[in-house]
């Protein structure tokens, strides 16, 4: 059984909600990313989404754009990202890791080489923001042979026909983008999210994560009530940015923030 599958099985069995924080590999420096990931797990995270920095992050708002810029300024490259994951795996063999990035750094390495390196490092899933199922059959072939799940995004503009196609192609879990916009927006409308989630549930039995626009414990709790997992990106990255020069303080703040989200999600019964 894959790490993602066991993770969601356990979540379900314990009647819990999964907490999925996002951070960008190499932000503020590749040397500390793995230790931040351990911190996230300690504070109650279930799955980690690790951003692969890209020069042109078209789907990201300013907070995550800046994270990419900081990581690239430290010359974080794709091999560094794999090294970070491998480093993390020496101490943590169970927490699933999802890489989230854009097509070009994957294309240039080649699908099978990228996938093999990801698998060797201990990656469990891959989200390629700008690679819809229509363009992803070759990558999917490579991922399947290494047992890496391709996680697809669904959005408020995903109509029925696409929904069916994506649910068919998906594995691991599905990621619902809660709003029309980029990461870090704050116009999430919980009623509309709920309607769409109910529609999606009729098409798939895969776990459903919701992300984009979840900034604090209160929103996380609301979203957790209607989904299986909650993704927190910009709000965490903001903490990393704010304390970039003081790692100790950064870890303390991260821990406090993640614990507050954990608590909020555990309130849901």
């Amino acid at each position: 059984m894959s790490r993602i599958e066991s993770c969601f099985n356990a979540i379900k069995k314990n009647n819990k909600k999964a907490l999925i924080p996002f951070l960008t590999a190499g932000d503020p420096s590749p040397n500390i990313t793995a230790s931040l990931m351990h911190e996230l797990v300690l504070a109650g995270s279930d799955i980690i989404e690790l951003g692969v920095p890209f020069s042109d992050p078209m789907a990201d708002g300013p907070v995550i754009q800046r994270a990419s810029e900081r990581a690239l300024a430290q010359n974080t490259n794709t091999d560094d990202v794999f090294n970070i994951v491998a480093d993390f795996r020496t101490k943590d063999k169970t927490t699933p890791i999802i890489l989230m990035g854009y097509s070009n750094p994957i294309e240039i390495m080649g699908y099978s080489k990228f996938t093999k390196k990801a698998s060797d490092a201990g990656v469990d899933g891959l989200i390629v923001v700008d690679l819809p199922p229509e363009e992803s059959s070759d990558l999917q072939g490579a991922l399947t042979s290494y047992d890496i799940d391709q996680i697809f995004l669904l959005s408020p503009t995903t109509i029925d026909k696409r929904l069916k196609m994506i649910c068919k192609a998906a594995s691991g879990f599905l990621y619902y983008v809660s709003l029309k916009g980029v990461t870090g927006s704050n116009q999430l409308d919980i009623k509309m999210v709920e309607e769409k989630i109910n529609e999606i549930r009729t098409k798939t039995t895969l776990p459903l994560a919701v992300g984009f626009g979840i900034k604090d414990a209160q929103v996380a709790e609301c979203v957790g009530r209607i989904s299986d997992a909650v993704v927190i990106g910009s709000a965490l990255v903001e903490i990393i940015a704010k304390y970039a020069k003081n790692t100790k303080e950064m870890k303390k703040r991260i821990s406090l923030f993640i614990s507050s989200l954990r608590k909020a999600l555990d309130n849901i019964q």
Partner: protein
């Protein structure tokens, strides 16, 4: 990338004008590489574009505005003195510089704005580098009564102050983009982010044959009027088809606009001229087809300027309109198939051609177009005196006067 391009051989040369396929692919290139949120809106756009591009009423409106508002057809002008001085082929200039707003860009913005109107979108957005496409978009937004927001890199805003003011005079809002390299590619990213956020009421008018499907095909179709006119003008003025077509390539819209009507004419050779900046060997250039690698950026697969890990690198050209790290996917395909040739000229060669045209023909060309002219000055002398070369004089150079003066150490 496993689906090998089945069209890469000359026996299927007639297929050149029927691309892209139904998925928006030009062989390996093109496609639709965007986030899920934009897939639905792009399908809607494709549907509208397919419906109206063959709709007589839409086309009548488009042609009427091209005639009465843009001033088409633009002349095909025999540059006799320049041809004589070069001592070879006869050179003709397609005078897109005489269009309203001074460049070919307006053909596309008129087409897309009319489409926006048909789709009931009241707000248009655009990216711009040099400001030409921003001006052309602000112009049509005023003409059709739409709200207009133009995204422009903070660096470019400094370099192109006149066009920024022009856009504002036309009633549009200019939003500075501070991300990344603060240039055209970042403006395009930001326009996409706007589009994804306000997608219900907004039409994104992309300024060149890049972006996700259907943009490369749609922008080409709106600019293809250039080549259609050239074909007719050439037959009626000269009595035969041209031997060689030459156009500069930034994203590639003026080049594909000129080439498209001739893609199936094997006897017509096609040259796209990229910006070699300080020289390809220096790495300071904007020539992805000549010196880049295939990859994915801005919604399509094409040749890119990138580092070994797929990060997009900064481009360099004296001509802001050519300063782009990607290129339209159809050009990538035409390069691989060998149907078109892609070459490059340096900043200095382009500036020399700029001065030549000013002084020999009394025409001040855009620095972008000067790249095409510079390449002509290399090939024309060795050609037969009866041979016909046609250049797309894609824009007028008034916007570049400050750049030329600065380059030559002159304060105006």
């Amino acid at each position: 990338m496993s689906k090998a391009n089945k069209n890469i051989n000359n026996s299927t040369i007639n297929a050149f004008s029927c691309m892209p396929n139904e998925n928006g692919h030009f062989g390996l290139y093109g496609g639709r590489f965007v986030s899920e949120t934009l897939m639905g809106p792009l399908e809607d756009l494709e549907e509208a574009y397919k419906k109206y591009i063959n709709d007589p009423e839409f086309n009548a409106e488009f042609e009427s505005d091209l005639k009465h508002y843009v001033g088409r057809p633009s002349p095909l002008y025999h540059a006799k003195r320049w041809s004589e001085q070069l001592g070879g082929a006869q050179i003709y200039l397609k005078r897109e510089d005489l269009n309203h707003t001074g460049a070919h860009k307006i053909n596309n913005t008129v087409g897309q704005a009319l489409l926006a109107k048909k789709m009931g979108k009241k707000r248009v957005i655009a990216e711009t580098g040099a400001g030409q496409h921003g001006v052309a978009t602000a112009t049509v937004a005023a003409r059709y009564g739409m709200e207009c927001v133009v995204y422009m890199g903070a660096e470019d805003i400094k370099r192109q102050a006149i066009n920024v003011f022009r856009i504002k005079l036309l009633g549009a809002t200019v939003v500075p983009v501070e991300a990344g390299s603060k240039t055209l590619k970042d403006a395009l990213n930001e326009a996409m982010r706007d589009w994804v956020t306000y997608v219900d009421k907004t039409f994104y008018i992309i300024g060149t044959v890049a972006g996700p499907h259907p943009y490369p095909a749609m922008v080409r179709d709106f600019n293809a009027v250039v080549g259609r006119e050239v074909r007719q003008q050439c037959l009626s003025q000269i009595g035969k088809l041209p031997d060689t077509l030459v156009a500069c390539v930034g994203g590639g819209s003026n080049a594909i606009g000129l080439f498209h009507s001739f893609l199936n004419d094997k006897g017509v050779s096609l040259y796209g001229v990229e910006a070699a900046g300080d020289g390809l060997e220096t790495g300071k250039h904007a020539a992805p087809l000549s010196a880049g690698k295939p990859g994915v950026l801005h919604g399509n697969r094409t040749y890119l300027m990138e580092d070994n890990y797929g990060q997009i690198i900064e481009t360099h050209s004296i001509s802001a309109g050519l300063d782009y790290p990607g290129v339209g996917p159809e050009h990538a395909w035409l390069k691989d198939t060998g149907r078109a040739n892609y070459v490059s000229v340096t900043n200095n060669e382009a500036i020399q051609a700029f001065h030549d045209l000013c002084q020999i023909e009394g025409i001040i060309p855009a620095l972008e177009s000067s790249h095409a002219l510079a390449y002509i000055s290399k090939i024309a002398p060795a050609m037969d005196k009866n041979a016909i070369i046609i250049a797309n004089l894609s824009g007028r150079g008034d916007k570049d006067i400050q750049t030329i003066a600065t380059h030559e150490g002159i304060t105006i």
